[in-house]
């Protein structure tokens, strides 16, 4: 199935663009998707510092925030759009 990942902030530099269209197997989770994205050492450090998912990331799936601590094992669905922000601050 096809999903879209949109990058923001410094992640655009790291992933060389604003977005990526990916084809993944049915049953792929958000955590596994992040694993596919971590295909280079610098990307792995950003997404999985200390081997665990970076808890500062803000992931919005189809307009709804994903709990980075508790919902990483939810299954992706066809046409999902995931927006990934390195951090949320300000206001």
């Amino acid at each position: 199935m096809k999903v879209k990942v949109r990058f923001f902030g410094d992640l655009r530099r790291l992933f060389l663009g604003k977005e990526k269209d990916l084809t993944v197997d049915d049953g792929t989770t958000v955590r596994e998707l992040l694993g596919f994205l971590a295909d280079r050492p610098d990307r792995r450090i950003e997404l999985f510092p200390n081997g665990r998912v970076n808890t500062h990331l803000v992931i919005i799936r189809n307009g709804l925030p994903v709990n980075v601590k508790g919902e990483l094992d939810i299954l992706l669905r066809e046409g999902d759009v995931l927006s990934i922000f390195p951090y949320i601050g300000g206001g």
Partner: protein, 587 residues
């Protein structure tokens, strides 16, 4: 006493008499300082039911126990009064460098009372206060006023606070400027300063507070730098500033646009952090004792404002003008930011007011022709507001008043008279609860609850347990405001770190429970103030618009019963009595 000076200075502008007043230790134990001390002073010193723009309304300036020590993020001062915009409790905080000069005069707070015969600026040099004629500054904008005084005081190190024309003309959302664009922004504190005919204040000092344990503070300084600099937040703030929020809030369609009718704008790529960094030369800048450096020192690189320099624009200003007013170019938003700064008014309320005026015109409620995105017309309206000319005179009273006068109350988007910042409560329901129950009206900063809702810590739609989590944020941030720490250290300073700060300054060893009890003392004191000044508990709610009109692709809207549940939960946890009980008590 350790950690504080233990005294305040009363300044009477009418008879130019000043008096030092000791503050009992028990007050610091119950309220810490900063917001806590000032709230205690306001409740006890302000006459009940006072007209906010009358001489008898007190204007209180305060620094906190953390200020004056080398503590990262302890770099703000604050003002407290009864707001002319809302008629209730008013507080505002500002960063930069001024706080240190204010602190070093040797007082924990200044209570300004009365009114001068003619425009005056006050010079506080340690324990000596002088009143200087300010006729040469009248009519000057807030930044030029600071520039002139800065030149005058170049030999000394001085912290300078100024108002612009909006403050002079008692615009109800006038602000107080320091350090060329940092400001005590919300609730019209600049109008209270103007009502006392104080054009500026200059603070010079070399008093040092005594720390209870300077070794604790030294170790804290070193450790927090190491921890803080490695935090991804520090990198993001430095590179993008608060404008990083534009894309996040727009992605979830909670970016209030077209005067609260839409959740995003088609021109988002023209007004986000990338646009700011592309169209302008942006240097990051830091307040004293800060490594985060979120300030934007911006120079516009091209177009009709080429060469214009300003501090900003921050997220809220981009939201107010780029969202609510549909301005499609970050350079034009920067321009409107500069117009507001110079006139000396809060960009959040100003942007809400001009967008309200646009909506009112479109619905045939006024004959002042203006459209969304019409930058020059918006700028003209801002000037008319600051000088109270024509239609501007009405808008200078804020949205609540203007909506009533124009018979357009269905679009009176405000809580207790304060216009909301750029977070749509139809999506961010906890942020909505924050707007509804915050002590100064629709405020995002008392809880900053957009953060847990967007970071996935609690679903924005969830009702169950939300008030409890909001209270956690409110309690911790109330301690921030009482020590006077910057919000942006909220990912770094939790109860344990706050314990270190209090241990090093005051010497008290406070647990999470102790801190929460202090926050509760402060909340109940402010509640008492607001109820006594005529606030009705049923005002702890949001405008009807958010319950009637869905927003965004997902058509999000608030449900009355759900939102009432949030408020009820909050009341119970906070220790407020219910609206019904309060009404019975008042009758």
């Amino acid at each position: 006493m350790k950690g504080v000076f233990g005294k305040i200075l009363n300044i009477n502008c009418s008879d130019k008499h000043c008096s030092e007043e000791p503050v009992p230790t028990s007050v610091y134990e119950k309220f810490l300082g900063g917001k806590g001390l000032a709230s205690y002073l306001l409740v006890n010193k302000n006459p009940v039911g006072v007209d906010p723009l009358s001489p008898a309304n007190k204007l209180i300036l305060a620094t906190g126990p953390a200020n004056g020590f080398k503590i990262w993020g302890a770099n703000r001062y604050a003002a407290f009064t009864k707001s002319p915009l809302t008629g209730i409790y008013s507080e505002a905080y500002s960063g930069g460098k001024a706080f240190l000069h204010i602190t070093k005069t040797g007082y924990d707070a200044f209570v300004l009372d009365g009114v001068f015969d003619e425009w005056t600026y006050i010079e506080v040099d340690n324990n000596s206060v002088s009143f200087k004629n300010a006729n040469f500054l009248v009519g000057k904008d807030s930044l030029d006023t600071e520039k002139i005084l800065k030149e005058k005081y170049k030999e000394q190190k001085a912290g300078i606070l100024t108002i612009g024309p909006a403050g002079e003309n008692l615009v109800k959302f006038a602000y107080i400027n320091n350090d060329f664009g940092r400001c005590l922004g919300r609730t019209g504190i600049g109008a209270v300063m103007g009502s006392k005919k104080i054009k500026a204040m200059v603070f010079i000092g070399d008093q040092e507070k005594q720390a209870a344990d300077s070794e604790v503070l030294k170790a804290f300084w070193k450790k927090q730098y190491e921890v803080g600099i490695a935090n991804p937040g520090s990198k993001a703030y430095k590179k993008l500033g608060t404008s990083m929020m534009v894309d996040i809030i727009s992605t979830v369609e909670a970016f209030p646009s077209r005067y609260w009718h839409q959740g995003t704008v088609p021109h988002i790529d023209k007004i986000n952090a990338d646009a700011l960094n592309k169209e302008c030369e942006v240097k990051s800048g830091a307040c004293t004792y800060c490594f985060i450096a979120c300030n934007r020192w911006t120079t516009v690189k091209s177009g009709r404002h080429k060469g214009m320099k300003l501090d900003g624009p921050e997220y809220e200003t981009i939201g107010a003008f780029g969202g609510l007013n549909m301005v499609k170019d970050i350079r034009e938003i920067a321009y409107l930011n500069d117009v507001c700064d110079r006139l000396g008014m809060d960009t959040i309320t100003a942007g809400n007011v001009t967008a309200f005026a646009i909506e009112a015109y479109k619905k045939g409620k006024t004959d002042y022709a203006i459209d969304y995105g019409d930058v020059d017309r918006i700028a003209e309206l801002l000037r008319m507001i600051a000088y109270r000319e024509g239609f501007g005179n009405l808008l200078a009273e804020g949205v609540r008043f203007a909506a009533k006068e124009l018979g357009f109350e269905e679009m009176s988007i405000q809580v207790k008279g304060l216009e909301p910042p750029s977070f749509d409560p139809r999506y961010l329901k906890g942020m909505g609860l924050g707007f509804a129950v915050s002590d100064r009206g629709a405020c995002h900063l008392r809880t900053t609850f957009y953060k847990p809702e967007l970071a996935g810590l609690i679903d924005p739609d969830k009702i169950e347990g939300k008030a409890a989590m909001l209270l956690e944020y409110e309690d911790r941030l109330t301690i921030y405001d009482s020590l006077i720490l910057c919000r942006f250290f909220r990912d770094l300073y939790f109860w344990e770190e706050l314990n270190r700060i209090v241990k090093g300054t005051f010497g008290y060893d406070l647990s999470e429970r102790d801190f929460k009890s202090i926050s509760r003392n402060i909340a109940l004191t402010i509640r008492e103030f607001n109820l006594r000044e005529g606030m009705k508990p049923e005002e702890d709610f949001l405008p009807g618009h958010f319950f009637k009109h869905p927003v965004g692709k997902n058509q999000r809207v608030l449900k009355e019963e759900e939102f009432a549940r949030l408020v009820r939960d909050y009341y119970e946890l906070r220790g407020y009595s219910s609206a019904v009980e309060d009404n019975e008590r008042n009758e």
